[in-house]
Symmetry: C2
Subunit: 315 residues, 2 copies
């Protein structure tokens, strides 16, 4: 079980009618006070349907199931909204299991797509138990938030699209910075960028399961504590994302929560773009100096989500 | 005194190193509940430096002055920030006159660029008197917010850039919707779009100086009352923008303040884009039904500003 560039090309053909080609904007690094004297391209995947990259994997998984089974997912956040959105667009059935502690605003977003919503479990273990029982009973199509080939191949279309756009603007990137939750996005981007830009992963210090897995040589369980945990707080990499990250991600960086807050504020002040904590985490690595590009380098940064209360940018 | 396509091409060459090529994103009209079954391209000029299109005109005017004189402008809003930003980038001197009632947040933005800030006048007439006295005394380079060829030609580069981008994405637009304050932006876009898409202007009902001027056959003075008046509240068109709007703008539409609020909310919900009231006014015409495109039409909408408190999108 792995994911290859062919899987991503197939995913691209499958999902293209349903997803937005989100924009890439070239900005002067000096606008952010960066002095490496190179180029900076921001890809705004935060403008994708439902406010994150997650519909790419959800559409790909739904469209890959020849039987058209009802789908099931567990998520009180971006993945839940994406599965609900994709199922509603395709006229498919889906059940979304949401823990009782999920933020009301995100739950209402999931509810707005009109699919079956099961709010259950005071702890995530209870939510998972309910979901597993449902899955065993129904044989529904399981849409994993990150550790499944269909999910990874779908998210990988971000990488294909990005390289194509930067080439159209007359260049190629030397490295791309991508945030990591459970690793589905960066695994797909890593496969898509093979032979091209170096792929660098960024995690909050308080939700660093890829960093910990690389150190341990295998996925390890941890309890996310970061300010960005609502979107990046996976408890562990899966076997698939661990394998792909080890194969395709050159470096793994961690950033403090304050650096993430500062990157959100900078994106708003410098570019007028409102990104959620997880959406600004990749940029935080650059602004905090966790990575210093070579002089003249062309760096890409993925801004991957906008599901948050923009009032947090006020002031 | 007029503005031609040559002036805009010259402005483009002059300002290109200093302004961002802001992104265009194709979205399905159905995402906004629109049923005309055509295409919709949003240009996000709200991601320009300082959060609006205004630096284009400011850079063009500054770079057109061979003597490199100190500049002067009157504005407590987007124009003031743009002139201050452009002057600071070019190492030029500038004085910005700001009325005492200007919003503190906008004044602080202007101040942040480190130019000479003159906060004076409890009423705008007093601010204007101070500015005129300064201008007469110093012979400074006057940068008008809309009614000057250098300003209009600079703002017109938005139109050139937009058509080029839509062509690169394999199409052309049938019509573009652009908000009107004093008319500098739409005048330039109108000249740039000649022989191409129809240009349609949109104003808030409570700040409709172009609509009133077209009816009267000449610019008329009015007191703006709209929710969007901080960016679109010019007291009247000038002779130049009146002439250019009459020559190049096919239709003038007006929208209620509630439609503007709804368009801001829709841009945030559907696209994750946070636009100020004036920035969402062009889209409001489409969403409120003030204009109904032909079946199959390709409509462009300019989202032109993001200088506001994003907390107003909460909830």
């Amino acid at each position: 079980m792995t994911v290859t560039i062919s899987d991503i090309l197939e995913a691209e053909r499958r999902i293209r009618p349903y997803v937005r080609r989100t924009p890439v904007m070239a900005v002067d690094p000096a606008d952010f006070g960066l002095s490496f004297g190179g180029r900076l391209s921001l890809k705004f995947e935060c403008f994708q349907h439902t406010g994150s990259f997650k519909p790419r994997g959800a559409f790909n998984t739904l469209l890959s199931d020849p039987a058209g089974r009802p789908a099931v997912a567990v998520s009180g956040g971006n993945h839940g909204a994406a599965v609900a959105y994709a199922a509603s667009k395709l006229g498919r059935e889906a059940t979304i299991f949401v823990p009782e502690f999920a933020p009301k605003r995100k739950v209402e977003k999931i509810r707005s797509y009109g699919l079956d919503l099961q709010i259950t479990g005071m702890e995530i273990a209870d939510t998972m138990a309910a979901y597993r029982a449902y899955l065993a009973e129904t044989g529904a199509l399981d849409i994993h938030p990150y550790d499944a080939p269909g999910t990874v191949a779908g998210q990988g279309t971000v990488g294909l699209e990005w390289r194509e756009q930067v080439r159209e603007q007359g260049g190629d990137m030397d490295a791309v910075l991508v945030a990591i939750g459970g690793g589905g996005l960066i695994s797909g981007v890593g496969v898509a960028m093979q032979g091209g830009p170096a792929v660098i992963g960024v995690e909050p210090k308080g939700a660093a399961c890829a960093h910990q897995a690389r150190k341990a040589g295998e996925p390890v369980q941890a309890t996310p504590t970061s300010y960005a945990k609502d979107s990046l707080g996976a408890p562990a990499l899966g076997p698939l994302t661990f394998e792909l990250i080890e194969a395709h991600v050159e470096d793994l960086l961690t950033v403090e929560d304050d650096a993430i807050r500062a990157a959100q504020a900078a994106l708003w002040r410098v570019c007028g773009v409102a990104a959620e904590p997880g959406g600004a985490t990749a940029l935080a690595a650059l602004l905090s100096g966790a990575v210093t590009p070579e002089p003249g380098a062309h760096i890409g940064v993925l801004v991957c989500g906008a599901n948050f209360d923009p009032a947090t940018l006020s002031g």
